[in-house]
């Protein structure tokens, strides 16, 4: 079955989720990936949305983080203070799913400004809940298209902490969460060095050359000795994913 790179990226991200985990879900591709996992490999996944919805069971594709379809049929609804305090800060979130305008060598994320904060080239939306998710969830998955401008060696502004300048620096801050685990792009999958916290290419999607990934990364990206080719999506994965976004709002044409 034919598939697009965005479909493969989303399905690969879904496979990173494990059954019975509690996942803090954002809108867009993370939401598609979480809903796909719930319908395939992780039927007991608990989805929490930052608007304060716990155990959502959306009947349609939510178009905003606080869509009413997330509430109807959910297990619980709580205030924003409770979702960030009792769930996220208290260490009850296994996985956080983030996107970002820029992701760097140590998994730091920028969603605030391109350029200088006072006189930005581009003003982006800002943290929202991303800083808290990156600081406090046990592990972080990131999903983004693989372009050079999105992968600078160092982000212009650290909105959400990865390993900062290395695992040791993050460890010094005693942040509750474990930090970045994987970056899933439309070209491959990157994980983080156990010692240094530097991003390492671990898997390349079918038909993608390592050089293409290197050309689209803003530093000399390390390559795993155990480099794999990403597993191809199954027909079931593709059919369910397409049902989740029938108008291809997030999957694209």
């Amino acid at each position: 079955m034919e598939y697009t790179r965005t479909e493969l990226m989303t399905i690969t991200a879904a496979r990173e989720l494990r059954d019975k985990e509690v996942v803090f879900v954002g809108i867009g591709l993370p939401n598609l990936a979480a809903n796909l996992a719930k319908r395939t490999s992780a039927p007991n996944l608990i989805m929490i949305y930052e608007a304060g919805v716990v155990g959502a069971n959306p009947s349609r594709l939510p178009l905003s983080i606080g869509d009413p379809c997330l509430v109807s049929g959910a297990r619980s609804v709580c205030s924003m203070f409770e979702v960030f305090g009792l769930y996220l800060q208290a260490g009850r979130i296994d996985v956080g799913f983030l996107e970002g305008a820029q992701i760097d060598r140590y998994g730091n994320i920028n969603s605030t400004v391109i350029g200088n904060y006072q006189t930005p080239k581009v003003r982006l939306p800002g943290s929202g809940g991303a800083c808290e998710i990156a600081s406090l969830a046990k592990r972080i998955l990131m999903i983004t298209t693989h372009e050079k401008r999105k992968f600078p060696e160092r982000v212009d502004f650290v909105t959400s902490p990865g390993f900062l300048r290395g695992r040791k620096e993050r460890a010094c801050l005693k942040l509750e969460g474990g930090g970045p685990e994987a970056v899933i792009t439309d070209l491959g999958v990157m994980k983080f060095d156990e010692e240094t916290g530097e991003m390492i290419l671990t898997s390349v999607h079918q038909g993608v050359k390592v050089e293409e990934i290197q050309q689209n990364t803003g530093w000399d990206l390390k390559i795993s000795k155990d480099l794999k080719t990403t597993e191809e999506p199954s027909e079931e994965d593709l059919l369910i994913l397409r049902q989740l976004d029938p108008q291809r709002i997030y999957l694209g044409k």
Partner: protein, 305 residues
């Protein structure tokens, strides 16, 4: 007492929102008080410090109309669509006036309003460490925990002059019930010096008393109550009407140019007297499209004692 609180939106804004106020407009995606925003624009209130985690279209319009001098926020975008263009024009080009920004993350923004509600001077939280935001916002500080000796982030409490809250229903005394996403409603009300509440419907006292767990805000916290159906549009009211996602997308085009944005304000804000006229102008077809099918909760037995 009841009759004193129940008033029109125009009366409520005129009585409680003044030039230079610190204004908090509650509602996370859900129940955003758009009708109140339009009334503030019509009354040409100026130099407001506008506080919301997500400025959303409501602040974008108020900024475009020249009501704001400062925005306190944590995520400034048009959700699922793109940037807030009027907000950006004001920040980047100073149009129609320059605005100051004070930026937080969602949790720290919520901690500020919670601390305000608790009448505490500040609130500690575990995030905002190792990141760049504290360098841009000197209000984000650290203290040493007196018990563990460890450093922890703190943010100052926020006690707005006025907060505006939209909800599904209240009795005429202003006991306010909300269901669906409750966001920052309760904290905003308890933190503010004056509280304006608008509701989809004013109901009998027995409706409220039949389900007291749904009451987020009791009457003695509320200063003005406005019965104002569809006041959240293009945001939504759970069970009453859906979010108008089409309008959120359309706003991106409307707000792209100053001309089209001003035409919009002329037609949909200055050109109508109140929300009733706005709703009439939206038209039956649009309203019907936004009405969800019913899905009732199962009633709970509170018992009679």
């Amino acid at each position: 007492m009841a009759a004193e609180k129940l008033m029109s939106m125009s009366e409520a804004i005129n009585k409680f929102v003044h030039d230079g106020n610190v204004l908090y407009m509650a509602g996370f995606t859900h129940l955003i008080p758009h009708s109140a925003g339009h009334e503030i624009i019509r009354q040409k209130i100026r130099n407001l410090t506008l506080c919301r985690p997500t400025p959303d279209i409501v602040f974008d319009q108020m900024i475009a109309a020249g009501c704001g001098k400062k925005v306190v926020f944590s995520w400034a975008g048009n959700p699922g669509v793109g940037p807030l263009r009027a907000f950006r024009r004001a920040v980047e080009k100073g149009y129609p006036n320059s605005i100051e920004i004070e930026e937080y993350s969602h949790f720290s923004m919520i901690c500020r309003i919670l601390a305000g509600a608790l009448h505490l001077p500040f609130f500690p939280l575990k995030s905002l460490r190792g990141v760049d935001l504290p360098k841009s916002n000197p209000n984000i500080r650290t203290i040493i925990c007196p018990y563990s000796g460890q450093e922890i982030s703190v943010v100052p409490s926020l006690n707005p002059d006025v907060s505006i809250i939209h909800a599904q229903r209240a009795d005429e005394n202003g006991n306010v019930q909300v269901w669906g996403i409750i966001g920052d409603h309760r904290e905003a009300a308890f933190a503010s010096k004056k509280v304006i509440v608008s509701v989809e419907e004013v109901v009998d006292d027995y409706v409220i008393r039949s389900d007291p767990n749904k009451t987020l805000i009791p009457d003695f916290i509320v200063d003005a109550l406005v019965e104002d159906p569809w006041a959240a549009h293009p945001s939504y009211a759970q069970g009453y009407y859906d979010r108008d996602n089409e309008f959120y997308i359309e706003w991106d085009k409307i707000s792209m140019e100053i001309d089209t944005l001003e035409k919009y304000l002329e037609e949909w804000v200055y050109g109508v007297e109140n929300r009733v006229e706005y709703v009439k102008k939206l038209g039956a077809e649009k309203l019907m499209k936004l009405k969800p099918k019913s899905f009732y909760s199962v009633t709970a037995n509170y018992g009679r004692y």
